[in-house]
């Protein structure tokens, strides 16, 4: 009887101890496995750089030629030097080939990424964390003394920590956030809150708050504040306690955050990210009457945000001004924020109302290991995107607006890891003025918001 249980415990123990490395950029973060080989830790070069851009590997005998965006690199099996952008880079160990994958020592990650990206790379080798382009999340701690003292942790970005509660402490585990701190331990002269300590290990960062019994943590302030206090839990300030794809995809996260003492407000909120397409030098389509697509999309996006908020749905714009943003940056923002829904706004002729596009993966790129290719990152969300498109089309149609739905291979929809659609304002050429008409835009925005509200429950059920 005990043998299967012991085996299960052993497997779980191994899973817990799996070694990993986390890479953080200002837009996103990802964790990759590392393995012991020949006395040191190794990782797959494609795992390391694949999510950072367009990477392809070509094998030529013992040489492995990596094309990463515009950079070239050559690795040779069994050699401890690589050629990156024409410069020799020391790998601190031999490059290995295992299961048709090129492995390099973890220690060489810093040198390889620095040479490939030409960006600021910070490597924390003991914690196996890599921060690219100054992607650091900082926090401040403020102790409020009183009958029930509380500790307010303020972050410069929204956070989604996994919270675990022990007898006399609360632990916040930051798996995706590039949390850093110069101070490892901060004692407090208080009978409820005794100390705050920061640690980082195996690709994650943690904050442990020690104190009296029944400490609990609540997230508030759009996810930028965490309050630690003795039970009972303080009221939530989070507007919509709906789990994001992040927490939904990791069963352990969901189960831990529902432990006694941890309020539902620790769930990240459901966010609709609205992308007013084009902007800056990219004017988009040149429409009649000197209208620019980039201006219409921004005006429409602002109206949609207002309508969504009127429905009690959190919304955010990818841009709220006339700025240049690449398609990659737009997708990275959506994925980094773990948006619940992504909606791109477009405007174009000819048409007869509104066109709704859901993504179609026409790309022929194959997955690399467990990573989906950037070109088809959307593939796991296709059915949800189609359900969203259908709900939005139905609701916009109810506003007496002609709606046509298509599937399309449109960037950045195919790069988004969330239900994603594009909405194109496309009135009849005889009614071009509708494009900038407040009445038309508000009517369409109300329809979209209503569609999102209807689809939300269904999308969440499918998570």
């Amino acid at each position: 009887m005990l043998a299967p249980l012991a085996l299960l415990l052993a497997v779980l123990s191994l899973a817990d101890n799996e070694k990993q490395l986390t890479v953080y950029t200002p837009q996103t973060s990802y964790t990759i496995p590392v393995n012991d080989r020949e006395g040191q830790l190794y990782l797959s070069i494609m795992d390391l750089v694949g999510p950072l851009g367009h990477a392809t590997m070509r094998v030529d005998g013992h040489d492995w030629k990596l094309q990463f965006n515009s950079a070239d690199a050559r690795f040779s099996e069994g050699k401890d030097k690589a050629k990156i952008r024409g410069n020799s880079v020391d790998l601190n160990g031999k490059a290995l080939v295992v299961d048709n994958r090129l492995l390099i020592p973890v220690k060489s990650s810093f040198a390889v990424l620095s040479a490939l990206l030409k960006k600021n790379v910070e490597f924390r080798p003991e914690a196996r964390r890599i921060l690219i382009d100054n992607a650091a999340l900082h926090f401040t701690a403020e102790l409020k003394k009183g009958d029930k003292s509380s500790l307010l942790l303020s972050f410069n970005q929204p956070v989604h920590p996994v919270t675990t509660q022990n007898e006399n402490s609360v632990k916040l585990i930051f798996k995706r956030e590039p949390l850093v701190s110069e101070i490892t331990s901060q004692p407090f002269d208080d009978k409820f809150i005794h100390s705050l300590s920061f640690s980082e290990d195996n690709g994650t960062a943690s904050l442990v708050i020690a104190g009296g019994p029944d400490l609990n943590a609540t997230v508030s302030g759009d996810g930028k504040s965490v309050t630690i206090q003795s039970a009972p839990a303080i009221a939530t300030a989070t507007p919509s306690p709906v789990p994001s794809p992040e927490s939904a995809s990791t069963g352990s996260t969901a189960s831990q955050s529902t432990q006694p003492g941890i309020g539902p407000q620790t769930h990240p909120s459901f966010l609709v990210l609205i992308d007013p397409s084009h902007g800056g030098n990219d004017q988009g389509a040149l429409l009649p009457e000197k209208l620019l697509e980039k201006d219409i999309t921004l005006a429409m996006a602002r109206r949609l945000k207002t309508e969504l908020e009127d429905h009690g749905i959190s919304a955010r714009l990818v841009r709220d001004g006339d700025v240049n943003l690449s398609l990659e940056q737009r997708a990275e923002m959506a994925n980094g924020l773990h948006a619940g829904i992504y909606i791109a706004i477009h405007a174009g002729l000819p048409g007869s109302g509104v066109r709704i596009y859901s993504p179609a993966i026409t790309s022929a790129t194959e997955p690399v290991g467990k990573f989906h290719p950037w070109e088809s990152a959307q593939s796991s969300y296709m059915s949800r995107s189609q359900a969203l498109a259908q709900a939005v089309a139905e609701e916009v149609g109810k506003k007496q607006i002609n709606v046509v739905s298509f599937k399309t291979s449109l960037r950045p929809l195919n790069n988004i890891t969330a239900p994603a659609i594009a909405v194109e304002l496309a009135p009849d050429p005889a009614n071009v003025a509708d494009l900038s008409s407040q009445k038309f835009q508000t009517n369409v925005a109300a329809g979209i918001a209503s569609g999102v509200a209807h689809a939300r429950a269904q999308l969440e059920a499918q998570r």
Binding site: H346, R355, A360, F406, S409, L410
Partner: protein, 196 residues
């Protein structure tokens, strides 16, 4: 003695002949310049062999927001990449006529077509194909879909298609349709049904 009136008339006639001559020379130069400019817009391609075939081409019609099959008489070589180029140029010829069902920029053309591993085509277009393409999701999708579906119909065995512009990769055709990916022809075939 020649009367003064005749002297003036002859003088005016000579002046008229001179002005007409100068104007003719100017018109000739203008035509030559136009011819030269036109030839620069289009790539020089070798003469095409093969026999004339009646092929099916998928043509975009902006007014109806639809794609429709049409027939065209084209000299089709047997070599797949040449065959692909001729088929694609037959579609573009529809778009470059005046009036056009789906206007493209002047000089839009196929520079070359490369066949890789017998199943992948890389289509190199002129810069004008992308630079002069009207911007809009639907218009761009219709262009790519009509070209890929025409390949599907006339060049058997092509599984993947990639577009480059003047030999270089480009993110989008005119701000919308994806040019970075390799298109799976089977997937595009399914999408094309929505437009027909």
């Amino acid at each position: 003695m020649i009367p003064r009136s005749i002297q003036i008339t002859v003088g005016l006639l000579l002046l008229g002949i001179l002005i007409s001559g100068l104007y003719m020379i100017k018109l000739t130069h203008k035509e030559q310049a136009k011819t030269l400019l036109g030839s620069e817009d289009r790539p020089v391609a070798p003469p095409v062999g093969g026999k004339q075939e009646r092929i099916a081409i998928l043509v975009a019609y902006d007014e109806d927001r639809a794609l429709r099959w049409r027939e065209a008489n084209v000299f089709m070589p047997s070599e797949p990449s040449l065959r692909a180029r001729e088929a694609l140029q037959a579609v573009l010829a529809q778009y470059l006529q005046n009036p056009s069902p789906h206007p493209l920029g002047k000089g839009a053309d196929i520079k070359d077509v490369y066949l890789i591993n017998q199943d992948t085509l890389v289509i190199d277009t002129t810069p004008q194909f992308a630079d002069g393409h009207p911007s809009g999701i639907l218009l761009e999708e219709m262009t790519l879909t009509s070209l890929i579906e025409t390949l599907n119909a006339n060049v058997p065995g092509i599984a993947r298609v990639k577009f480059v512009v003047d030999g270089k990769e480009r993110e989008t055709l005119a701000g919308h349709a994806d040019l970075m990916s390799f298109y799976q022809t089977a997937a595009v075939h399914e999408l094309a049904k929505e437009f027909q």
